[in-house]
Symmetry: C2
């Protein structure tokens, strides 16, 4: 099954547009886990067990593993998802892009070493830099478009030939770059009007939406601007709001409850 | 000593603008090394021993290590450079950028885990995404501007308010983003006229120039367009043209000779 087929199936079976961002910082996870041999994996395992029937994707951010030499925990986490929740696709958030020969190595990192179903990438170097990812027709390639950070507009809202740069990127990603029907775009929840502009350009191409929860994105506005006609089309990520719902031994239970609430809130606007 | 001080000192002591790209692919290194416990490190060690007095930087591309689980080889390589050639700065080519909290983790990856002196980053998300790197005043932050790949112009030469996007990026990187005087820009050797445009904008800000050798960049045109008044300002990278100069047991000797020739060619135009 391709990533896109998997995503469509799990949207339906889970009745959820929620993606959980698995971005654990060893300094922030509950104290009783910090001395484990694989603390980030143990933490993620609890979160996954408590949320796996309520989500449409998991999104581990590779920097949280690579930064402090927890690569093994990342691999164990992805394998665990494939074992206990094989219906849930794994998006490796890596924001890669480089010249072709190098991007081939990054595609190996995402799809072979870590066995992810999809990966996030950066459009600045143009399509040929992303081709080694896009050529994997069975994998999802999620291109940055309008990101959720406060300073995103500095580059992304420069005006190019009568439109914003992010709108041009949306046209490219959903048009010529989508030759394998496997692209998605990143559109931050913190800028719902811009997300709506992107939806108008890209038709039914799914959007990965970071920025609800800790970053303050408005769920109602995201739904109103981003849903497709069949009431899907969105993968709405929450990381800190779910994984740190409690800092105690009940962190997993609290994460499950936070996911349930977010899903309920989202579905109330569908 | 900061990265910038280190670079200026080594330009002088080595009389070289050559950077060697340490991008070894285990399928391409000499056969007798492939079964070593740390084949990429053994390969790099030979290259470093043969080139260390003739270069102004080493630039390992992280994808070549991360793609096939050779992270340990990368760490050993950087430690080896610090041991036998402490005067030569190490640029980790990683092209990272993400929201602030995540970029902090990427900065840890580059500067703590791998102890690099400088790192390459991507401008698409704006300055706040790069702040966790830029805040390290002692480290170099090398921002993509006009890259060397054939399709670079698809995004980088979109016209924004009367100039190309890459020119706007050059203005930002050498202006407001340079609050710690620690930025450089990537300008591909394959587009020397554009490199010249960048030089006009950024004054003496150093340029990292990939694309000579295998990618076909024109050395003479790079020098004519890119040198600063004091005949430095460039870090000219060659990877495949040097590290694969021979596929036999004499690979290190051949790499040393290829570096000597490239340096001689470059210096003939200084």
């Amino acid at each position: 099954m391709t990533f896109m087929e998997k995503l469509k199936a799990v949207w339906k079976s889970s009745n959820s547009l929620v993606c959980v961002g698995l971005d654990p910082d060893v300094a922030k996870i509950p104290e009783h886990l910090r001395s484990a041999e694989h603390p980030l994996f143990e933490f993620n395992k609890g979160i996954i067990d408590a949320t796996k029937d309520q989500v449409c994707a998991y999104k581990p951010q590779i920097a949280y593993y690579a930064g402090l030499n927890f690569d093994e925990d990342l691999l164990m986490t992805i394998r665990y998802i494939q074992e206990v929740a094989p219906q849930v696709p794994v998006i490796l958030d890596a924001k890669r892009a480089d010249i072709g020969a190098t991007s081939q190595m990054y595609a190996k990192e995402a799809f072979e070493r870590y066995q992810a179903d999809a990966v996030t990438v950066n459009p600045y170097m143009g399509m040929d830099a992303l081709k080694p990812f896009l050529d994997h027709a069975d994998k999802g390639v999620i291109v940055l478009c309008r990101t959720s950070n406060p300073g995103a507009k500095e580059i992304q809202e420069l005006t190019v030939e009568g439109e914003y740069l992010y709108q041009r990127v949306a046209r490219l990603v959903s048009g010529p770059w989508n030759y394998n029907n496997n692209t998605m775009l990143v559109a931050g929840a913190t800028f719902p009007a811009e997300l709506g502009q992107i939806r108008k350009i890209v038709g039914n191409t799914p959007l990965l939406v970071p920025g609800v929860g800790a970053q303050g994105g408005d769920v109602q506005a995201v739904l109103e601007n981003g849903l497709t006609e069949d009431k899907t089309g969105l993968v709405i990520n929450s990381s800190r709001g779910i994984i740190y719902a409690s800092s105690g031994k009940d962190f997993a239970e609290a994460a499950g409850e936070a996911t349930r609430k977010l899903n309920e809130q989202i579905n109330s606007f569908r």
